[in-house]
Symmetry: C2
Subunit: 288 residues, 2 copies
C-alpha cells in the first residue's frame, strides 16, 4: 500500500490503541479476547476508506468514531464466522482464531462485546453535527440483518445446497463483503460533509471495490498458500463462490472489470482521487 | 401482573409486531429465527419498566424505541446464553431453544441480528429530543462489555471455579441481570424528561428489583419445576449462585430485603408510584 494508506492506517491504529487503553473497565478475559482479534494485524481497509473519504471532503479527523466502529464490527463478524458452528476456522491472520485461544463461549462474548462497543462508539460521537447521524445509521443498516448478517445467513445456507448459482454468489458478496465497504466510504463521506450525489459516487466505488475484493478472496482460497494468507485454504469447496459458479478465469476477468467500474465511479466526484485509484491498483494485485 | 402492566405490555407487543411485519427485507431463515425467540412469550418486564417510567414523567409513547431495543438486546443475550458453548440449554419458555430449531450457526446470527437491530432502532429515534441521546447511551453502556456482557463473562468464568463467593455472585447479578433493568428504567425516565435526581431514584429501584429478580431465578432453579418455569432446572449447580454462596433461606431473606429497598428508592420521586410498588409485590411471589 502507498504512503497515504500507511499514514491513515497509523493514525487509525494510534486512536484504536488509545481507545482500548482507556477501556480497562472491561473485565478479563473478555477484554483480552476482544483485543486479541482487534489487534491481529488486519489490513484496516474499512477504517482507511472511511478516513480517506472524509479527508477528500475536508474533515478527516471527525470521521474517527465511524472508522473505529467499522473495524470493531468487521472484527466481531470474523470472530463469529470462525466459530465451529459457522466456518470452523482454526487460523486467522497467521494466528489461532479467537475461540482456539479463549474458548468458544468467550469468543461469542468477545464478538458481542465488539459489536456493542461499535455502537457505544457511534453513540458517543456528537451526532448533532451535519451528516453524523446519517453516517451512524448507514453503518447500522449495512451491518445488520439486511446487510452483512443477511450475507452471512446466505453464506451459511449456501453450504447446504449442492449447486452453486451466480445469483446466490452475487447476493452473498454484495451483502457479506461489499455492504461494509460501502458503509465505510459513505460514512466517511457523510461525516466529511459530502453532498448526496457525491455520496452515491462513493457508494458505487466501494460497492465495486468490495465485490472485486471478495472475488479475489474466493480465488486466493484456491490459488494462495497458507503462508501468504495466514489462514487455511481450500475450504471454500462447499461454499458459494465465483470460481465454482462461473470458473476461475471468468472470475478473474469479473474482478478486473469491477476494479475498472470502481475507477469509473470516482469520475463523478470531480476531485483529486489519485489515492483511491492507487488503492484499486494495489488491491488488484494482492496476494493476501 | 396487574392491569396497567397488561396494558403497557399489550401496547409494546403491538408495536413490536408492527415493526417486525415491516422488516420482511431480512432474509429467511434469519428472519424466522429472530422472530422465534422474540415472540416466545417473554414477560416483557424491561420494556414495560421503560414505558411505565416514561409514563410516570408524562411521555409514555416517546419511549417506544428504547422499549423495543431493550427487549431485542435481552432476547439476543438469551439466544447466545443458551448455545452449547455457553449454558447449553435445550428449553426456554417451554419451547426448544433457538439453536435447537434453527441450528447453532443461525442462532449466533439471529442473536447478532437482534443486537444490531436494537441499535438500528435506537439510531432511528429522533436523538435530538431532550434526554434521548443519553437514554440510548445508557442502554448501550448497560448492555456492553462493562455491563451485561461483563456479567456473562463472569458467569462463564465462574463455572470453572470450585468455590462460590458472595462477591463473585453479586458482581454477576449486578451486571448480567440488574444492569439491563436499570437501563430499562433509566432510559424510560430520561425519554420522559426526568431530572437527574429522579433518574438516580429510578436507577436505585431497578437495581434492587433486578438483583432480587436474579436471586429468585437462582432459587427457582432449585425449587421450581420444568412445567412452571418452561426451562430445565437444577443445572445451576456448577454456577455462582446465592443459594450456593449463602444458603437457601439467607437467599430468600436477601431477595425480600432487596424488594424493600426497591420500594424505598421510589420515595425520592414524590410521585404516585402505586404501579411500581404493585410490581414489586407481584414479582416477589413469582413462581416462574
Amino acid at each position: 500500500m502507498n504512503e497515504t494508506f500507511q499514514a491513515l492506517r497509523a493514525c487509525f491504529e494510534g486512536e484504536l490503541t488509545r481507545v482500548f487503553a482507556a477501556r480497562t473497565d472491561i473485565p478479563e478475559p473478555l477484554f483480552s479476547a476482544m483485543k486479541y482479534s482487534l489487534f491481529a494485524g488486519g489490513k484496516r481497509i474499512r477504517p482507511v476508506l472511511c478516513l480517506a473519504f472524509a479527508d477528500l471532503f475536508g474533515k478527516k479527523e471527525e470521521a474517527m468514531p465511524f472508522a473505529l466502529a467499522l473495524e470493531m464490527i468487521h472484527t466481531y463478524s470474523l470472530i463469529h464466522d470462525d466459530l465451529p458452528c459457522m466456518d470452523d476456522d482454526d487460523l486467522r491472520r497467521g494466528r489461532p482464531t479467537c475461540h482456539k485461544v479463549y474458548g468458544e463461549g468467550m469468543a461469542v462474548l468477545a464478538g458481542d462485546g465488539l459489536l456493542n462497543l461499535a455502537f457505544e462508539t457511534l453513540l458517543s460521537a456528537d451526532l448533532t453535527r451535519p451528516g453524523f447521524l446519517e453516517a451512524a445509521r448507514t453503518i447500522a443498516a449495512c451491518a445488520g440483518g439486511t446487510g452483512m448478517i443477511a450475507g452471512q445467513c446466505a453464506d451459511l445456507e449456501g453450504e447446504k445446497q449442492p449447486s452453486c448459482t451466480e445469483d446466490h454468489v452475487a447476493y452473498i458478496h454484495l451483502n457479506k463483503t461489499a455492504r461494509m465497504m460501502m458503509a465505510a466510504g459513505m460514512s466517511g463521506a457523510l461525516a466529511g460533509g459530502a453532498d448526496p450525489a457525491s455520496v452515491r459516487c462513493v457508494e458505487g466505488y466501494c460497492r465495486s471495490l468490495g465485490l472485486a475484493f471478495q472475488i479475489q478472496d474466493d480465488i486466493l482460497d484456491l490459488e494462495g498458500t497458507v503462508e501468504e494468507l495466514g489462514k487455511n485454504t481450500g475450504h471454500d469447496q462447499k461454499k458459494q463462490t465465483y470460481p465454482r459458479a462461473i470458473g476461475l478465469s471468468a472470475s478473474k476477468a469479473r474482478a478486473e472489470r469491477l476494479f475498472e467500474e470502481a475507477a469509473e465511479s470516482l469520475r463523478g466526484l470531480n476531485k483529486k482521487t489519485d489515492f483511491f485509484l492507487e488503492l484499486l491498483e494495489n488491491l488488484s494485485g494482492r496476494r493476501k
